[in-house]
Symmetry: C2
Subunit: 470 residues, 2 copies
């Protein structure tokens, strides 16, 4: 159809879409906001279909729904349908089916395909991040700071053992058994230390075990593990890059993490009072969610700005809003955050699945065959090391130590980050890279069903839809 490119340049986006492309005409090719929007919308449709199809199917099979969301993501991602893929997968726009659909249905110009793909991926990644921010905020709201503090020492021990054991065993094994040199061996060992708070906490919520003693120990240990993981990655990455350990960085991260977490707890009362003060005064729509979300986003920003993680800020924000049950707006908030979380959180899990490249299982590639052997070793260390850490819990009588260990197993998105940083730094051979990714996949996908088994059956609310959620 004649003139269709002109129309697509000018008329698709009600706001800036009509402006930006014209302003940009004289300069280089920029992504048209209209096309970026269309690409994001289509990606979200694919993400939601994958999340519900996967989640419902796995729930019906008796597995945790989150596993289905991950698998749904794998199906629409880089491993299969190539609908939701990202530049970090090492692909460009020509691999993206969504971009192809935009070219076919919306008149996307071929020379704008790459910038559109880049911009659309950026937006989806921020949406996924906001998803996991909301998840951790919700988990924080559901947790009780006193319960967490009560098992704080146990959490610290579990995290420390769960980091040390796999790291030492992994590094030693790589050097001793596989004769890998020191830096890549340390990298592989470091990748074994991660624990995915997101996956662990979501499964705990789904099987209704978050507020048990075991759940609180796992949650606390996962948070500490996350901080340790950030520090380890900093140290290992600088080692891989310069051959030296950057002590100043490591100290800076340790100090800022401590100050942040202690500061968040100390500021808790202030945030709490601020929230209740405003939420009770407000009379217009969003009176409870907007103040709460503002606190959560601000804390996430601080977490990111001081070189920790946004999700740690979100969790801290949820945690400090802790006497919600005592106020009307507080109870309102706990109910209202659920649909927001239902809409945003799946974007995160599907995206994690979508980025997972099962291509490493292809035995036709030599590095994959070699990687498979190393992977078997890494997987054993990964599982045994974390399960063992559960048994380091002391001073508590009737506590399910096996469940605690299993709860620490999933590496999830954190493990993928280690693999990607290692691969990009050139420290890892292709085979070792494949092995780490396989270890991450297996631990991530194995943990949710295992957790359900070790916690035993008889969780009445596990498969029901909460009344307030939909």
């Amino acid at each position: 159809m004649a003139g269709s490119n002109f129309v697509s340049e000018i008329f698709l986006f009600p706001l800036s879409g009509k402006i930006a492309p014209i302003l940009a005409m004289a300069t280089e090719i920029k992504a048209e906001p209209a096309m970026v929007l269309a690409g994001v919308l289509l990606s979200l449709v694919a993400i939601y279909i994958a999340s519900k199809a996967g989640g419902e199917f796995f729930n019906w099979l008796g597995f945790p729904p989150v596993l289905g969301e991950l698998v749904g993501g794998v199906v629409i991602g880089i491993s299969a349908l190539n609908l939701v893929i990202f530049p970090e997968n090492g692909v460009d726009s020509s691999a993206s089916i969504i971009v192809k659909m935009l070219e076919l249905t919306a008149g996307l110009a071929p020379d704008a395909a790459e910038v559109t793909f880049q911009a659309q991926s950026e937006v989806l990644e921020v949406l996924a991040e906001i998803g996991v921010i909301i998840l951790l905020f919700e988990i924080g709201l559901e947790s009780n700071i006193k319960d967490l503090m009560q098992v704080g020492v146990q959490s610290l021990v579990v995290a420390t053992v769960g980091v040390t054991l796999p790291f030492v065993a992994g590094t030693a094994g790589m050097m001793g058994i596989f004769h890998v040199s020191a830096v890549p061996a340390i990298f592989a060992g470091a990748a074994l230390t991660a624990t995915s708070i997101g996956i662990t906490s979501r499964v705990l919520t789904e099987i209704n075990r978050l507020n048990t003693k075991e759940g609180q120990i796992i949650l606390g240990a996962a948070v500490i593990d996350d901080v340790m993981g950030i520090i380890i990655l900093a140290v290992v990455a600088s080692l891989a890059k310069t051959g030296e350990v950057d002590i100043i960085n490591a100290v800076y991260l340790i100090v800022s993490a401590s100050v942040f977490l202690v500061g968040a707890v100390l500021l808790g009362r202030f945030f709490n009072d601020t929230f209740i003060f405003f939420a009770e005064k407000f009379k217009t729509r969003g009176r409870a969610v907007i103040p709460a979300l503002t606190i959560a986003l601000f804390m996430s920003y601080v977490g990111a700005a001081i070189h920790l993680e946004a999700i740690l800020g979100a969790f801290a924000a949820g945690l400090v809003l802790d006497n919600l049950h005592e106020t009307e707006v507080g109870r309102e908030l706990e109910k209202l955050i659920l649909p927001i979380s239902d809409v945003l959180v799946p974007i995160f899990f599907v995206t994690v699945g979508a980025k997972t490249n099962l291509g490493v299982l292809n035995p036709a590639v030599p590095a994959n065959r070699e990687g498979l052997v190393i992977a078997i070793f890494l997987i054993v260390v990964a599982i045994v090391g974390k399960v063992a850490c559960g048994f380091s819990v002391f001073g508590l009588g009737n506590v399910n130590r096996l469940a605690i260990g299993v709860g620490m197993v999933p590496r999830g998105e954190v493990g993928l980050v280690f693999a990607a940083v290692g691969s990009a730094s050139g420290a890892l051979s292709p085979a070792l890279d494949v092995a780490i990714i396989l270890m991450v996949i297996i631990t991530t996908f194995l943990a949710p069903p295992l957790l359900r088994v070790v916690f035993g059956e008889g969780e009445p609310e596990a498969e029901e839809v909460p009344e307030t959620s939909g």
Copy 2:
């Protein structure tokens, strides 16, 4: 602090943040996802504070909250604090206070400031778009297709008269009184035709008048007006660009708009049945909102892909899910969509305010003084033309024709698009550009309080927080 740049490059973003910058190191400067995320988070904090401060204050003054959100946006936007600003305002990263804060607090490298600003703006614009998509979906859900159809002819007449009167009077006046040549005069006339569905429908909801006969006529007319506006903008823009009217484009838009709207209504039953089928079968979280949102996002995509607007698709999707009250999941959905809307919609309104440049009021600039005179003329035509169209309603006895006319007055974001396209195409003189922007500002900010006045007092629910919303 030593090594901070390295840390900020590698460790801020839990997922791709750690990967993408490393992958990009070898090539040109790319935006670090970690910094983009931090920028988006900080912008959202500013947006939510502005929306609540503005909304609550204006509600307390007796004005519609949405006006306060617009004003809050003006305060944090290009006119005042420069917190939330966009490249389309003609500024670069050096003007953005958020970018400055990232440099100060998060160690953003100065040479990455521009790409971060661009990427962050892209994300915020998509979030704002998703906000207005959710708003129109919610408005569609609250509307009844039968009620809309019943007043369909009246809506069509109101829209046609409301487009024709201001267009003819505006163009003639510009040529006759101000001796402007044909193309810019037609552009100014065209800018007078717009109506902002977003602002109008939000105010109607706030004063609890959406489901009155007047409300349905306004809503229907605003939708038709939006379609007409897209076609007019296409024609006028091609006229400004090539000096000729692109008939093929215009016909294509008319045909695709008609097919889309009729098709949406015809497919309504299918979408409705699909939604209820899946929502009732699903057992995991998000069982009602995810299927509904998937339909809404898909229809929005189609609206965008066929060169109409995403929001028209969202409205159609809400409209066709019409027998919700009869099912349990339907009633659930209507309750659950509220908090999602509460969180996303303010991003849109605050952004509209933030993009509005009150700098055009500065009398020190000669073009502004000249513009002010033209603006007075345009504002009179803008208000009189739309108010008059309300009186074209026929065949209905006791209906508030003045209210219908006033409901069509706000130009909002649609008017800003006309001004920006005109300005970018070079067809408009600076004075005429200023005049159009002033006209958009005045009609947008005047309409909400006027609407409340002409609908009369005594709306008991207007200032209360609905029980299900927070």
